[in-house]
Symmetry: C2
Subunit: 344 residues, 2 copies
C-alpha cells in the first residue's frame, strides 16, 4: 500500500538500490542495459523519489520558504505578482515553494515563521513581509547560525542583509515630476501608512520632486491612507478641504487612487481637467479606471526572479558580500495626468 521505494525498483530490475540511485542521479556511470531495466521497473511501479529521505541524507531540501503576512496582504497586487516571479525561477532551479505566514505584520514575532522554515530544513527563505517600523529589527540580533539564508524584499537596503527591493523614492519622484511637468503647482499626496518604509519612501520622493522644482512641500498637502481604496476616498476629501488650490494628487498606490477618483466624481471634479492624478503599482485595472490612471510600474515579477536567483547563489555559496539589488521603476502615462489629451 505504501508507495514504491527505490528498493522495490532495485528488486524488480534485479539490481542493487545503489545502482538505481546512480541511474537516477547520473553521478556514477550505469550501463545502458541496466539503465533500461531500471527505467522500465520505475515506469511499471510508478516510482517517484522521496524528497524527505533524500533531503535527510543530502542535507538539502530543495525547499524555499516564503514568508508573507496574513490576511489582506496576499490580496495586495504586489504579492501575487512577486509570487509569480518567484515561482517561475524556483521551478527552473529545482526548488519547491513553502508558504509561511508571519502572524502580525507589525510584530516582532518572527520566530514562528522562521522556525516553520527551519522545521522543514528549507534551503533558504524569502522574507516578503513589508518593513513596518521596527519589524526588521530582529535581523540584527538573530543568531544567523542555525537558520537558513534569507533574502529580504520590501525593505531598505542594509549592508548585512541580502536585499532585493524597488526604488520607491525614484518611482514617486517620477510620478510627481511628471505632474509638475504637466503644469501642476499644488500637488497633494495620499500616502500609505507612514509606519511602512515603502510609504515613507514614496512620501520622500514626492517631497524631493517638489523641492527640485522649487515648490513648497506643505504639510497640508499630505494625507495618510492605509493602502485600501476607502482610505484613498477619505484622504482625497481631506486634501480638497485643506487645499483650495489643489490641482494634482499623487496616490501612493492605485487602489487609493481609485478611492480618490471616487471622491472626485462625487464632488463633480473632472480628472484630468480639474485635477491631475497619478498612482503607483500599475495594476492591470488602472488602465480601465475612469479616466485611465497614470501609474508607476514596479518590476515585481522580476524582483521575484532576482530574489530566487540571489538566494540560490547564497545557498550555493557563490555569493560574496550580501547582495543589495534595487530595481528602478518606470512611469506609465495615461489620461488621468494629461490635461491636454483628448478624450478617447
Amino acid at each position: 500500500m505504501s508507495p514504491p521505494t527505490i528498493i522495490d525498483v532495485a528488486h524488480r530490475a534485479g539490481v542493487s538500490p545503489g545502482t538505481v540511485s546512480n541511474a537516477l542521479s547520473g553521478k556514477r556511470p550505469v550501463s545502458a542495459a541496466t539503465r533500461a531495466r531500471i527505467e522500465q521497473a520505475i515506469a511499471e511501479l510508478g516510482y517517484a523519489p522521496n524528497f524527505m529521505a533524500r533531503g535527510l541524507v543530502n542535507q538539502r531540501s530543495h525547499i524555499i520558504a516564503i514568508v508573507v503576512t496574513e490576511f489582506r496582504d496576499l490580496g495586495f497586487y504586489g504579492y501575487s505578482s512577486t509570487l509569480t516571479g518567484i515561482q517561475q525561477k524556483a521551478t527552473k532551479l529545482g526548488y519547491s515553494l513553502m508558504l509561511n505566514f508571519a502572524a502580525d505584520p507589525t510584530g516582532r514575532e518572527v520566530l514562528p515563521a522562521l522556525n516553520g522554515a527551519k522545521k522543514y530544513q528549507a534551503d533558504g527563505v524569502i522574507w516578503a513581509v513589508h518593513e513596518i517600523e521596527g519589524n526588521r529589527d530582529w535581523t540584527a540580533s538573530l543568531d544567523a547560525a542555525g537558520y537558513p539564508p534569507i533574502v529580504h524584499l520590501h525593505t531598505r537596503p542594509q549592508p548585512h542583509l541580502a536585499v532585493v527591493t524597488i526604488d520607491n523614492r525614484a518611482g514617486a519622484r517620477l510620478a510627481t515630476g511628471h505632474l509638475i511637468e504637466q503644469g501642476a503647482k499644488t500637488i497633494g499626496i495620499i500616502t500609505g501608512p507612514l509606519n511602512w518604509w515603502e510609504a515613507q519612501e514614496r512620501l520622500a520622493g514626492w517631497r524631493e520632486a517638489l523641492l527640485a522644482a522649487g515648490l513648497f512641500a506643505d504639510e497640508a498637502l499630505v494625507a495618510e491612507g492605509d493602502w485600501l481604496a476607502d482610505s484613498g476616498r477619505l484622504a482625497m476629501e481631506t486634501l480638497l478641504a485643506r487645499n483650495p488650490g489643489l490641482d494634482a494628487v499623487f496616490a501612493s498606490n492605485d487602489t487609493m487612487a481609485l478611492g480618490a477618483l471616487h471622491t472626485a466624481h462625487a464632488r463633480g471634479l473632472a480628472v484630468p481637467d480639474d485635477l491631475l492624478l497619478a498612482g503607483f503599482d500599475n495594476t492591470p485595472e488602472a488602465a480601465v479606471y475612469w479616466p485611465p490612471l497614470t501609474s508607476v510600474r514596479q518590476g515585481l515579477r522580476q524582483m521575484g526572479c532576482l530574489a530566487v536567483e540571489t538566494l540560490h547563489a547564497i545557498i550555493e555559496e557563490q555569493a560574496g558580500a550580501p547582495p543589495q539589488i534595487q530595481l528602478q521603476p518606470e512611469l506609465v502615462v495615461r489620461r488621468s495626468s494629461q490635461k491636454t489629451a483628448a478624450a478617447a
Copy 2:
C-alpha cells in the same frame, strides 16, 4: 555547524534520545525532573525538530500542497482570499503549506504538479485550479493509489471527488433577480470565458432568473469576456451596440464590471440612472467604484477553511463518501443597481 539534533539534546540532558522524543510528543510520560533538564538543554542548544526525519518515520509530512495555475491567476481576487482561509485553518491543524503550480490552466498536464506534492509526501492536496473544459478529466483516470487525497475547489460537484465549491448559479440568480426587481427589462450579461465552468454557471443563473421572470434570454444579450477589466469594457460596447433598449447588465466579476463602468462613462451613460449594473466577487474595491458596485459575495475564506477541514477529515480517515460542499453566496446591494437611491 549543522543544527543540533535530538541526540545532542539527549547528550546534554544526560538522557536517551527516546526520552527526549517522548518529552516532546507527550506520548509517554516523563518525570518532571528529566523534563526540566530536557527543556533546558533544548533552550540552550536552540534545538528544533527536523520534520523531514519525523515525516520519514511517521509516514506523515504534515504538509498540504496547494495547486494553482501560473501567471495572472494568483492575482485574481479569489485565490488570495481563499489562500487566507486555507492558511488559517491549516496553521490551526498543524499543517504547513506547499505551493505548486500547474503549468497551463487549460492543460491536462497535471502530473508535474501532482508529483510535486508526492515528492514531499504531502498528506493531502487542495486542487485550486479552476475547471476549464476537460482539465478535470484526469480525475477519472488517475490511479488514486499512490497519490495523496485531493480536495477540489472551483469545480462542479462530482460523486467520486471531494469538492468544496460555491453555488455560482445561485449567485448569478441573486444578482439578476435583483436587477429584475429594480425594474430592468432588458438585462445583458458579461460572461467569463465560456470554457470555464464557473462562467457557464453564472450564465446559466442569469438565464434562469430571466426565464423565471418571464423575460427572454436573447443571445444578443450575452457578451463574453475573459475576466479582465479591459474585456469588460469591450463587452459593454458590444452589448450597447446590439441592444438599444439595454437597461441593466450583470458582469460575471467585479473587474469586468469596472470595465463596463468605463464604457458607460465614456458613452455618457449614467449608472444607475440610465443603466443598472451588478458584479460578482464583492472585491474590496467594489465599494469604491463610481458608483459603488452591487456585487455577489462568495465566502472564499470560508471555502478555504472548509477545504482544509475536509482534507483533514479524509487524511484522518474520518470521512465517509467524498464530501460535496456547496456554499451559498449572498448579494451585497450598492448604488450601481438602485435607480431610486439618493446619492450619498
